[in-house]
Symmetry: C2
Subunit: 397 residues, 2 copies
């Protein structure tokens, strides 16, 4: 495991907020096993090939002889394989899914082999727990980081990278795929492309396909970075990185993740130490300041190119590359539990309902459980407790 000394382990708490540990019991933290998968080469959907694929994954529990007691967590947009418990007991914070993963928990580590992946181009390259192959990696052909020459990757590419890793472990079948947000896209792609490999798919904050609205928003996540002169076509690793652009991009992402629960209180007060925004354009409101500071903290850990490449992967997503969900979902064998957040302003609950309707019409098993709240996308994390009985029932089927 490559340790990056400049990384900090609170990356995911910053990302997901301080309430993330909710739902954990008073039990001692479980210890995650970290590993690195390596393959001599990897071919992307767009025809390009790279040498030396490497990414970290995390496991809990033991694979059974049949190779089918597997719970798999593909990575979500801004995350890596760091999902539950701690790596060492001294770590400041436990993984965000610690409430779900552990002995006797919903994803019972005494019964299941739980695997989480850092896959391709994970964003938090400044976190010491991230090993991932992406723009920041050294291209063995040039001895320099890929930068903007890294191949555009797709959700299907993430699935293929993870499939190689799971195969290397002897996994035959995924009992439950728990895909969160961008992870749900991978879940749909898995169910469509490898229908015999996936028995159950829990799509939390699901996005069954990118529509034009998502595609257009992805532009607003990428453009502030690509417009920053320091981006330099993605080749900034030996220069000043495009931090201002990254902060702007993360501001938009932040608001997409939060909905109006964010800053509802005292939001329009001037920020401490700021000129009054009534008097000067450079004045800052308290909410604005909180958002910018959160983005600045994430910007210290997130790689600019990886934000851009990840946004592109989401914008390109259609399961199985098919034009319609009806065509795409025809081969699916998995049962699907879709868990949208009612107040999500980007991954709308209507998308989940539509996917359920298409699956059911095709004779598949699919249900929706929607999380109540006004916290937007993040309700999928902070209010996951609402969905636990539905998840338990679904896994017992």
């Amino acid at each position: 495991m490559k340790l990056k000394l400049f990384g900090i382990s609170v990356a995911f708490m910053l990302m997901l907020g301080s309430q993330a540990a909710r739902g954990q019991t008073a039990q001692p933290d479980i210890i995650a096993k970290q590993h690195v998968f390596e393959a001599p080469s990897f071919s992307f959907q767009n025809g390009r090939t790279i040498r030396n694929l490497r990414f970290s994954y995390e496991t809990f529990g033991t694979l059974n002889a049949a190779g089918d007691n597997v719970i798999f967590l593909p990575r979500s947009y801004s995350a890596n394989a760091r999902v539950a418990g701690k790596v060492t007991p001294a770590d400041a914070a436990a993984g965000v899914w610690s409430g779900l993963i552990g002995p006797g928990k919903v994803f019972d580590t005494e019964k299941f082999f739980v695997v989480a992946s850092s896959s391709l181009a994970a964003l938090p390259t400044g976190d010491r727990n991230t090993v991932t192959t992406g723009p920041v990696s050294i291209n063995p052909d040039t001895g320099k980081p890929y930068g903007g020459s890294f191949p555009i990757y797709t959700i299907r590419d993430m699935v293929e990278a993870d499939r190689l890793m799971l195969q290397s472990l002897g996994v035959k079948k995924i009992h439950t795929l728990f895909g969160v947000s961008m992870g749900s896209m991978q879940g749909f792609e898995w169910s469509v492309t490898y229908p015999d490999m996936v028995a159950r798919h829990i799509a939390l904050l699901p996005m069954p396909e990118a529509d034009g609205f998502l595609t257009a928003w992805m532009n607003t996540w990428s453009q502030p970075i690509m417009a920053d002169p320091n981006w330099a076509g993605g080749n900034y690793y030996d220069k000043t990185p495009p931090t201002a652009g990254v902060v702007q991009a993360l501001n938009v992402i932040h608001l997409h993740q939060r909905n109006r629960s964010f800053g509802a209180k005292d939001g329009r007060k001037p920020a401490e130490g700021s000129v009054n925004p009534s008097n000067a354009l450079e004045g800052r409101f308290a909410t604005e300041d909180a958002m910018i500071k959160a983005s600045e903290a994430r910007a210290r850990i997130f790689d600019a190119n990886s934000i851009v490449y990840g946004a592109r992967a989401m914008a390109l997503f259609s399961p199985g590359g098919k034009a319609t969900l009806e065509e795409a979902f025809a081969p699916v064998k998995a049962s699907t539990l879709l868990i949208p957040a009612k107040s999500d302003i980007l991954f709308f609950p209507a998308y989940a309902d539509n996917a359920r309707d298409v699956l059911v019409k095709l004779g598949k098993k699919a249900t929706v459980f929607a999380i109540d709240g006004d916290g937007g996308h993040f309700d999928g994390v902070f209010k996951i407790g609402q969905a636990l009985p539905a998840i338990q029932a679904f896994m017992a089927e």
Copy 2:
């Protein structure tokens, strides 16, 4: 009336989409009367004073002797006083509210004196129908445009500027204030500050006060412009304007206005003439391309500083400067009809419900009529037909 030759009259059709003329009958277009209001000086809420306030307003019909048959339309964020009919019969397009304003229409110009204002710092300074005092105006003290030295203005300042204009016409009382989006903020401010002046307030796409969520989003409208090196602190009028920043800002604004109806069809196809986005970061999707081209068209007409100043005015808004709506709404005498769009992702219907609840609790008359649809904020324009019976009933009370 100052005519800007480089302006184009289709500004508002671009802004509001091609369906804007819907709801118009086959009657010939009415002709709007355009005027310019002038005052020797104007004092802002933050204490600053400017000389030579000038802005255009548009009228239809005739003021009665009592001065109380007035329907007033304060300007919305990206609009000016151009609201209905045409200025000359040769104009390419009629104003967006042509379906509502005219002889025998809901705002019956044979009965009412209809007034619309360009007020302070209207955005479309490149439109020949805009006269407005804002950053682009010449500061008589320096002989140069104000640029970034223009005073930060507030919703209250817009109300004061309009009040001077209405007073100059002999208006004693507003029968119905029709405030759209940012115009609804002015409607709330009017009702709170001049309760005896407003009999009825129709708040279309209402925002009763800025919460922290809106305030933070306003940062994402301003930052792309302020981060563009060509912005130069707002002093770009004799140089290259910050067009790239304006396009980025307008992209975000565009998506806020549209919701997921935008680009739902064929959105993730590559744009015509673009590299395939699967192969290169500079590749563009069809939706992205449509959004960017719409923003580029608006960028030719909209002043960058005015976008920034308008966003600040919205972020600063609390009616009457009060901390809570309960305090703010205490003096209100107007009846209020709140018309949110159900799928609005920024001006949430919940805000309208909350304002109604507060008003009713205080013993005021207030009702909500929510427009159905998946078109977001723009449903308030394109689907206003749904609300016409409610508006008619409200005006007859």
